[in-house]
C-alpha cells in the first residue's frame, strides 16, 4: 500500500504542484479539507501562499486548526510549506499580527534582507543546522527555491535549517513529527523531491 498524504485545502495553496510532486515520488496525494479524509491519511501537508492572518482565519473557519492539533497528538507527521510553515509557529507580526497554530516555537516576522530586494525570489543554498530524517541524503548547502517576504524565528531547539539572503534566516524547523520548510520543495527539482520523499518515508514509518 502506498503512503497517503493529505494536502490541506483552505483556498490559498500551491496545491497542484505539491500533489504532482508527491505522485511523482510514488505517494498517494489527496487535496482535501474533509476531516475523515485527513484522519485516515498517513501524513499531512499544510501548503500555502499569501498573507498569514487571512490564511489563519480560513484555517479556523474550516476547523483545520483543531484537526491539525488532533493529528499532531496522534503522532501523524505534519509538513508545512512556505506560508504553511509560518502557520505552524506561535504567531506572526504580519499585518498587525496574528496567532498561529503553535506547534513550533517562535514568531514569524519580516525577512531581514539587509537592503536586498524583498520578496526573496530564487534559489538559495540551505544549511542544515542539525541532523534530521527530513534532510536525509540531501547535502548541506543544497539550493532550494524560495518566494517569501517573511521568515520564522524558531526557538533554538526547533531550528533545522537556515539560508542566507542579505542576512541569515531560519528556513526549516522541526519538533518531533512536525516539520516546516520556508522554501518550496515541490519547485526545487531533485533535492525537493528527495525531501518530500523523506517526509513520505517518515509518514510510512509511523504505526497507524
Amino acid at each position: 500500500m502506498t503512503t497517503r498524504i493529505a494536502i490541506l485545502d483552505y483556498g490559498m495553496g500551491n496545491l497542484r504542484s505539491v500533489e504532482k510532486a508527491l505522485e511523482h515520488i510514488g505517494a498517494t496525494a489527496e487535496i482535501t479539507n474533509d476531516a475523515d479524509a485527513v484522519r485516515t491519511a498517513d501524513g499531512v501537508i499544510l501548503p500555502g501562499v499569501g498573507a498569514f492572518p487571512k490564511a489563519m482565519s480560513r484555517v479556523r473557519e474550516l476547523g483545520l486548526d483543531e484537526l491539525i492539533g488532533e493529528r499532531r497528538e496522534a503522532g501523524v507527521p505534519i509538513l508545512g510549506i512556505c506560508l504553511g510553515l509560518q502557520l505552524l509557529f506561535d504567531s506572526t507580526t504580519e499585518l498587525g499580527g496574528a496567532a498561529g497554530l503553535g506547534l513550533l516555537g517562535g514568531e514569524v516576522s519580516d525577512l531581514d534582507a539587509d537592503g536586498l530586494k524583498v520578496p526573496h525570489i530564487g534559489w538559495s543554498p540551505v544549511r542544515w543546522e542539525k541532523e534530521s530524517r527530513l534532510a536525509d541524503g540531501i547535502e548541506t548547502e543544497t539550493p532550494f527555491y524560495f518566494v517569501h517576504s517573511f521568515a520564522p524565528r524558531p526557538e533554538a531547539g526547533d531550528l533545522l535549517g537556515s539560508a542566507a539572503y542579505g542576512a541569515r534566516f531560519a528556513c526549516a524547523a522541526e519538533r518531533d513529527n512536525v516539520f516546516g520548510v520556508q522554501f518550496h520543495p515541490e519547485k526545487s527539482s531533485a533535492a525537493g523531491l528527495r525531501l518530500l520523499s523523506n517526509f513520505t518515508r517518515i509518514c510510512a514509518s509511523v504505526p497507524a
Binding site: 504542484s17 501562499v49 498573507a51 517569501h148
Partner: protein, 244 residues
C-alpha cells in the same frame, strides 16, 4: 512571470487560429501594428509576433510588418515563423526583433541550430509544439514521432537556453493551459520556458503563477486579449508571484 501578447500575422492582418488550423481563422486587426500599439500601450513588457504565412511557406513573408511593429513600440519583440536558415534569422533581428523563435528547423537541421546558437546565443528561442506529448512540425501541419520531453532535454544539452512550448490541443480554446505537460517540459531543462496555449482567464494566469516551475518565465496570451477577457495590465497583475 512575463505576459507576452501574441500577434499572429497572416495576409498582412493580425489573426488568431484555433488549434493551429489555418481554416479556422479570426481576423482581429487589419493592421498588426494597431494590435502591437494597443498591447504595448496597456503595459506589455514583450510582444510575441508570429509570421503565420512564413511558418507555412518556410520563409519569412511578413518582414515589413515586423519592421513596422518594432518601430512602433518601445518594448522588445520576439519573432517566429518560417525561420529556417541563418539569413532569415539575421534579417528578422535586423528588422528589429530582440529574439528569434525557431521551430521545425531547429529540430530537423542541427547545423542550422548550432550556427544560430553560436551567432546569437540567448536571443534564440526554440519553439517546441506538442500534440499528445509528441512534437508537431512544419507549422503544425505534420505530426511527429519524437517525444516533447526528450526533445527539450536534447536541445537543452545542445545549448538552447530558452524554449517556447505550445500545447496545440488547447491553443486558441481558452480552456486553460496544459499545466501537467508544462511541468514535465520544465523539469527536462535548466533553460527558461515560455508557456503557450489555452489561456482564457485571469484564474488561468494565477494558476500558472502559483503552480508552474521556477524556470517557466512567461506565458503567451492570444485570443483572450483580443476578445477582451482581460487587459494586459490585469493579466500582469494576475501573474505577479504571491509571496508569504
Amino acid at each position: 512571470m512575463i505576459l507576452y501578447p501574441a500577434i499572429d500575422i497572416r495576409g498582412g492582418q493580425a489573426v488568431r487560429l484555433l488549434q493551429g488550423d489555418y481554416a479556422r481563422e479570426t481576423v482581429f486587426d487589419a493592421d498588426p501594428v494597431d494590435a502591437a500599439r494597443r498591447w504595448a500601450g496597456d503595459g506589455a513588457e514583450f510582444l510575441h509576433v508570429v509570421d503565420l504565412d512564413g511558418a507555412k511557406a518556410g520563409a519569412s513573408q511578413n518582414l515589413d510588418a515586423v519592421r513596422w511593429i518594432a518601430a512602433a513600440v518601445d518594448c522588445p519583440i520576439q519573432v517566429g515563423g518560417g525561420l529556417r536558415d541563418a539569413e532569415s534569422v539575421a534579417a528578422v533581428l535586423e528588422a528589429g526583433a530582440e529574439r528569434v523563435v525557431i521551430g521545425t528547423a531547429a529540430l530537423r537541421d542541427p547545423e542550422f541550430l548550432d550556427e544560430v546558437l553560436a551567432e546569437h546565443g540567448e536571443r534564440v528561442v526554440v519553439s517546441v509544439d506538442a500534440r499528445d506529448g509528441k512534437v508537431a512540425l512544419a507549422g503544425w501541419t505534420e505530426a511527429g514521432e519524437e517525444g516533447v520531453v526528450e526533445t527539450v532535454a536534447e536541445l537543452s544539452s545542445r545549448g538552447v537556453a530558452r524554449f517556447l512550448c505550445t500545447a496545440i490541443e488547447v491553443d486558441g480554446t481558452m480552456e486553460g493551459p496544459a499545466l501537467g505537460e508544462l511541468s514535465r517540459i520544465a523539469a527536462a531543462t535548466a533553460g527558461r520556458v515560455i508557456a503557450s496555449g489555452g489561456v482564457g482567464s485571469l484564474s488561468d494566469l494565477k494558476a500558472l503563477a502559483r503552480e508552474a516551475a521556477p524556470n517557466v518565465e512567461g506565458v503567451i496570451v492570444g485570443r483572450a486579449l483580443y476578445e477582451h477577457r482581460f487587459t494586459v495590465a490585469e493579466g500582469k497583475e494576475a501573474l505577479t508571484v504571491r509571496d508569504c
